[in-house]
């Protein structure tokens, strides 16, 4: 009886030890994906099948959307410019970047929280998981993370980035059409998902070996058919050529819905099982929420495109 007990304890300890994988905080491997984060894709007007139950939905205008998520390098450049221009403010005491938001109409619905006019958090500079450094005037991406998606940014911070350049966050409908195209595919690249289609929970990509099963962000456009350090990826663009529309980081969308203060995110992330990567999967949080698993990309009307 005692021997059996000892064996069980040893099994438990072995299980726990094997559960501890990866070294948090280690420098990531650096890979150039060849996908340009400055690129935009055109999504033409027309009907598409929205949601799990494939409701025909019309988007009656053309629009453009970024081919990749906004990267740390892009956001660092923006923050430096916007801070110098006074578009955002640094609250030195809290080490927080904040910015003005005009507020939402509050209807007092159950669980609805007021989002009032004023300054709201964009980025908390003290927060672990932020891949930017700040020397008082200039923001710089952490080495190795330049082409990874910007994370730890609130909905206000994401919106402010897009608006600074005259763009906007995509609506949920725009996002989903850009991810799915006009057929009924569940994933941006097609009907099935393989481990090397996207960065998701336990997808066993190169970064999971460093940080553990929850993984780390992968550079934008990583899953483009290239082989990195022997790790072969499948080319996984959406029908309009967008990358990372499933996995890596959730993406803020721009809709503000009546009777709720939540903002919606799409696409799933590195810490989700594959079913969260289906094009219709939704997540939401209060707009001041930020996370190492949440980033964004912008959209713009064709008429305002440069």
């Amino acid at each position: 009886m005692k021997r059996m007990g000892l064996i069980l304890v040893l099994m438990a300890v072995a299980g726990l030890l094997t559960a501890c994988g990866g070294e948090a905080g280690a420098e990531p491997p650096v890979f150039e994906t060849g996908v340009d984060p400055e690129a935009w894709a055109v999504v033409p007007a027309g009907e598409f099948l929205k949601g799990q139950h494939e409701h025909p939905t019309l988007v009656d205008y053309d629009y453009e959307i970024m081919v990749t998520d906004v990267t740390n390098a892009q956001y660092a450049r923006y923050l430096t410019e916007a801070l110098a221009a006074g578009a955002v403010k640094l609250e030195a005491e809290d080490q927080q970047i904040v910015g003005y938001y005009p507020g939402d109409e509050f209807r007092g619905a159950k669980h609805e929280e007021p989002i009032e006019e004023g300054d709201w958090l964009h980025v908390d500079l003290d927060e672990e998981g932020l891949r930017l450094s700040f020397d008082g005037t200039t923001f710089t991406p952490l080495p190795g993370y330049e082409n990874h998606p910007m994370v730890q940014v609130t909905w206000f911070g994401a919106r402010a980035y897009c608006e600074y350049y005259g763009w906007r966050l995509p609506t949920e409908v725009e996002w989903e059409k850009a991810a799915r195209g006009t057929d009924n595919r569940p994933y941006p690249w097609g009907d099935e998902i393989e481990r090397n289609n996207a960065n998701f929970y336990s997808s066993k990509d190169l970064y999971e070996k460093i940080t553990g099963k929850l993984g780390d962000t992968t550079p934008v456009g990583f899953y483009n058919g290239k082989t990195y350090d022997g790790y072969e990826t499948l080319d996984s663009p959406s029908p309009y050529g967008l990358y990372d529309m499933a996995g890596n980081v959730w993406q803020w969308t721009g809709d503000v819905y009546e009777e709720q203060h939540y903002r919606y995110m799409r696409g799933g992330s590195k810490m989700e099982y594959e079913y969260w990567l289906r094009v219709w999967a939704r997540n939401n949080a209060a707009p001041e929420y930020f996370s190492p698993n949440v980033g964004f990309r912008c959209a713009r009307d064709i008429t305002t495109a440069e």
């Binding site: 438990a12 569940p186 709720q260």
Partner: protein, 504 residues
């Protein structure tokens, strides 16, 4: 032929055989379909199973598959509850036989054809048969409610140590109330199901949290799933009470509370459609008497275990009492799991309700969803372990096997459920960027704990399977000793033949 017939009679006529078959079916389904999620995905087992069984897993149909899967498992659990009720609550033998036969046919048809439809292509005949199976289970419920009718003179109370109202047996009323409430609550789901593809779209309730506006059909499903699990828990608590011969002053307080609570909580769940804003309040008020009734059962049972243990050992004092309480892990486990459920389900649920907007609705919906799914998976699994303890006690596991079985299930399940609870709540004490170690150890403990329980269950099933091949195995004793079958032997010719074969 006779050997097969006798074994068939054991498996499909005796209470212990019927429960064994249902547990085996649940174990089989869990073993196969459990390989499609969780760590089995991470280890690549899912891919192998999908290829091996040629499963048809269309991503858009995941929610529908899951709904059918847990309905098939739930039907088997309902069948077990029915078997145990027909065994412990006095009723006519023909009623027991008819109810058991109907529910058995129902859950097996629902399980086989439901899973066939959900996972192996969409043969619509299978879907029809699945619905037919569900209907049979419902019909068995109607027969059960009729058999439990408490106002029949022959079921009037004979021993006044049990709760009664005049001459009415209140425990029987509690069983009856639970059965009727279950039937109504099943209809709540069935009506919505009838709108499927005709105004109703498949969804998982946890995906609707934070939706400010839900349709009546969605509300009906939300009410249905909550109340069905609750009523299964009530049924299990009642049969466990019978196992402990629950009686005396606590029984007299407990049964009215259970009846009142069951009615109120059911009314609360049903009122979610017409008056959603007050439904939760009614449910809270209904939960209190049900929880109190269960608490009184636990107090009675613990006291009984202690007194029996002390009488046996001749000891006295706190430590002797504690030793007496835990000396039989199966009987202790049935009650302890009810206590443990409060730590991982009730208290967590209350905390979330109180701090919902302040804490949990600041987190992403995905994390709130994770808590909800963890919450009801734990409750379901705790009910399953109580049924396992009940069954293992019923078939009379003895000696070291009894000790190992009982303690491994208690420790394994509680470690797993505790770890899942910590996992659900991790955001309270660790930031998202630093959660990897917490996720690692909680998931490892949950996997290890569940693996232990499943291995012990597998051991039990293998033992019973091997036993069936023995001429004079445990199964023969259980068949011979089934009280209802021995009564029936006077009438049914095949039972007389089987009895003759047994006596050889």
């Amino acid at each position: 032929m006779q050997a097969i017939q006798t074994r068939f009679m054991f498996l499909f006529r005796s209470t212990k055989g019927l429960v064994l078959v249902a547990i085996a079916m649940i174990a089989l389904v869990t073993a196969i379909f459990g390989m499609l999620s969780g760590p089995m995905v991470e280890w690549g087992v899912k891919d192998v199973v999908v290829r091996l069984l040629n499963l048809d897993l269309v991503p858009a149909e995941r929610e529908g598959r899951i709904i059918m899967l847990y309905h098939t498992i739930a039907m088997a659990v309902v069948a077990i509850a029915v078997y145990l009720i027909t065994a412990v609550v006095p009723m006519k033998t023909y009623q027991q036989a008819t109810i058991n036969a109907t529910v058995t046919a129902g859950y097996l048809v629902a399980m086989i054809f439901g899973l066939g439809f959900a996972y192996f292509g969409h043969e619509w005949v299978f879907h029809g048969l699945y619905l037919f199976g569900l209907s049979l289970v419902f019909f068995a419920g109607i027969l059960l409610a009729a058999a439990l009718w408490p106002w029949r003179q022959e079921y009037h109370i004979k021993d006044t140590a049990y709760a009664h109202w005049g001459r009415i047996d209140l425990e029987r009323v509690a069983f009856f109330t639970m059965a009727v409430a279950t039937l109504g609550s099943a209809m709540f789901g069935a009506v919505t199901g009838s709108y499927w593809s005709n105004g109703h779209e498949t969804f998982l309730a946890e995906d609707l949290i934070r939706e400010p506006h839900k349709t009546n059909l969605q509300y009906a499903i939300i009410g249905h799933l909550h109340i069905m699990l609750t009523l299964i828990a009530v049924a299990v608590a009642l049969v466990v009470g019978r196992r402990f011969d629950f009686k005396g002053p606590l029984h007299k307080i407990s049964m009215p509370l259970m009846i009142f609570g069951t009615i109120l909580i059911t009314a609360g769940a049903w009122s979610v459609v017409p008056v959603p804003p007050i439904a939760h309040t009614i449910i809270y008020f209904g939960s209190v008497p049900v929880l109190l009734a269960a608490l009184f059962l636990v107090i009675f049972g613990f006291r009984k275990l202690i007194l029996e243990g002390l009488a046996e050992s001749g000891g006295a004092g706190f430590w002797a009492g504690l030793k007496a309480l835990v000396r039989d892990p199966l009987r202790f486990g049935m009650l302890w799991q009810m206590v443990f459920m409060n730590f991982t389900v009730t208290f967590i649920g209350l905390f979330i309700a109180v701090k919902l907007d302040e804490i949990f609705r600041v987190w992403p919906a995905r994390d709130e969803r994770l808590i909800l799914t963890g919450h009801w998976h734990i409750l379901s699994a705790i009910i399953a372990t109580i049924i396992l303890f009940y069954y293992a006690d019923m078939v009379g596991l003895k000696g070291k096997v009894r000790q190992w079985f009982g303690w491994l299930v208690i420790v394994g399940s509680d470690v797993a459920f505790g770890a899942v609870t910590v996992f659900e709540m991790k955001r309270l004490f660790v930031s998202e960027a630093d959660q990897q170690p917490v996720v690692n150890w909680t998931m490892a403990l949950a996997d290890i704990g569940l693996a232990v329980v499943l291995l012990v269950l597998a051991g039990l099933m293998v033992w019973r399977l091997v036993d069936l091949f023995k001429r004079d195995g445990q199964w023969r004793t259980e068949l011979r000793e089934d009280p209802h079958l021995s009564v029936a032997q006077g009438g049914a010719p095949e039972l007389v033949a089987a009895a003759q074969e047994l006596s050889k």
